[in-house]
Amino acid sequence: MTPHADTETLSAYLDGEIPPPERARLERHLASCAECSARRSALEGVIRSVRALPPVTSTEAEHLAMRRAVLEAAPGRAPFLPSRSRSRPELERELGRAPTRGPAWKLFAATAAVAAVLAGIVGVVVVRGAGPNATTKASAPAPSASPPGPALANDAEVRAYVQSRPEVRTFLGQPQAAAGAASPGAPAPAPAHVPSVFGQLTGPTPTAPTTRAAPNSDGALAPPSPPTLGSCARAAVLEGAALLDATAVTYQGTPAWVIASGAQSGSTGPLTRVVVDVRSQSTCTVLDQTTITP
């Protein structure tokens, strides 16, 4: 009987990367050896499931950002050419028209006219903006910066809510960047620790402000802003575990994220699967938490 095939040979065989004589020998062996054909089927299953992963597609905005980056990085661009960077709809609309273009001087004249008008507008704005009106405006907090008022206005209410519904694990969203944006009339109670079942974050987050609701400098919890899905998912990762995958699903009819985490190495180790409700405006609600053993 011919010798058994090792995983490397089987894997290369499935990729068609085995030279013909060896291939024929291997096929003869596989026909007679149940063990090796079982391992071949296991490998085939792996290949199938990797291929079945959903494709990653870029959005139109991402495409345009990439395009802009390429155009901006290009050396020695003529000043006119960046004006040609249009979005695809614009481009198509334009190309749909008759492909006519006036002589160069018309373009110059039009550009100059637009520039002159713009200069006028900017000048007016600068002049008017320099008045005393502008300084008072600048110091006032921008009303649009704070999120739409959540149902739970202050941290006391949030704590009461959490305690009243222990089965619902809630997680506060990002704190406001400006401490002054906290509801001015509300009293500032002692910093309360909202119990979290999720433990600490698994690592530093240098780019973003901390996603955990932290007491502000004046001791008050910032009003919960709509949580980013990133903050929810980061919160769903247990201490010491790495976030491994996340995907959008419908869970019992509600849109949710399924977040998988586990130890970084060891492909067969258990996974923690957390389902997070994404409809809520102010909290991340964990609908389900399961451990999967692959």
Partner: protein, 234 residues
């Protein structure tokens, strides 16, 4: 795209003079141009529509590769952007010995390795999610397990298996894209698949000698793995 004539310097030169030089191109023809010609059209003629066509042709595969290697969408987008900037910047350094796509994937793998080395961010699931068709949770479980298992593979194995099974490259192309020997590629792919299959045992008898990776020093990989883990700690 609809037909529209373009010629370098169209704002300054008349179409007739461009026709005399033979530099007029119809925008609709861009789709039919090869990747190299598109790059040339942009680099030497300044035709930004060529960038558009090339990006649409390749950006999803580059992004998908980077996403599976890096595990989060933000880093993957950064890496893809670097790749395409480099494509047009380093167009002169492209050697025509290999296919353009192989060169493109090589740039992607290098960019991803750079990102993985100086990874400062946690995986960011919000961006990592493919907001495709919302799925039934049961069906999501299968792909969640395999996606998580891929994320847990060592970087080189993950790269090799993604290039093979998601992008369909041959071993030789993968060797070129990752800058390693074909034997190494073969071994990495088989180890990755073995791990994904839940640790396939080797046959009991007539077991061949240990799988070897020619260009890797012994003990290098575990070191890298611990280094990556320790960086994750706060």
């Amino acid at each position: 795209m609809r037909a529209r004539p373009y010629w370098p310097g169209e704002h300054f030169l008349s179409r007739r003079s461009a026709e005399r030089r033979g530099t007029v191109i119809w925008i609709a023809d861009l789709e039919a141009l090869s990747d190299e010609d598109l790059v040339r059209r942009f680099v030497s003629d300044g035709l930004s529509d060529a960038v558009d066509v090339l990006l649409r042709r390749h950006q999803d595969r580059v992004l998908g590769l980077a996403y599976r290697i890096l595990g989060n969408r933000t880093d993957a987008l950064d890496a893809s952007q670097e790749v395409f900037v480099a494509v047009f910047r380093k167009a002169a350094s492209f050697r025509h010995q290999s296919a353009f796509t192989t060169w493109l994937y090589r740039l992607t793998v290098n960019a991803c390795n750079d990102h993985a080395r100086r990874r400062s961010r946690l995986p960011q699931p919000a961006e990592a999610v493919d907001v495709g068709t919302p799925d039934d949770i049961g069906r999501a479980d299968d792909r969640l397990v395999i996606a998580a298992a891929i994320a847990r593979l060592p970087l080189e194995q993950r790269t090799a298996v993604v290039l093979r099974d998601l992008l369909g490259l041959s071993y030789e192309e993968i060797a070129e894209a990752t800058g390693s020997a074909v034997g190494t590629v073969k071994s990495r792919i088989s180890r990755a698949r073995g791990a994904l299959a839940g640790g396939l045992g080797e046959p009991p008898q007539h077991a061949p000698e240990q799988e070897s990776e020619p260009d890797r020093k012994p003990g290098k990989e575990p070191g890298q793995r611990t280094a990556r883990l320790s960086r994750r700690k706060p």
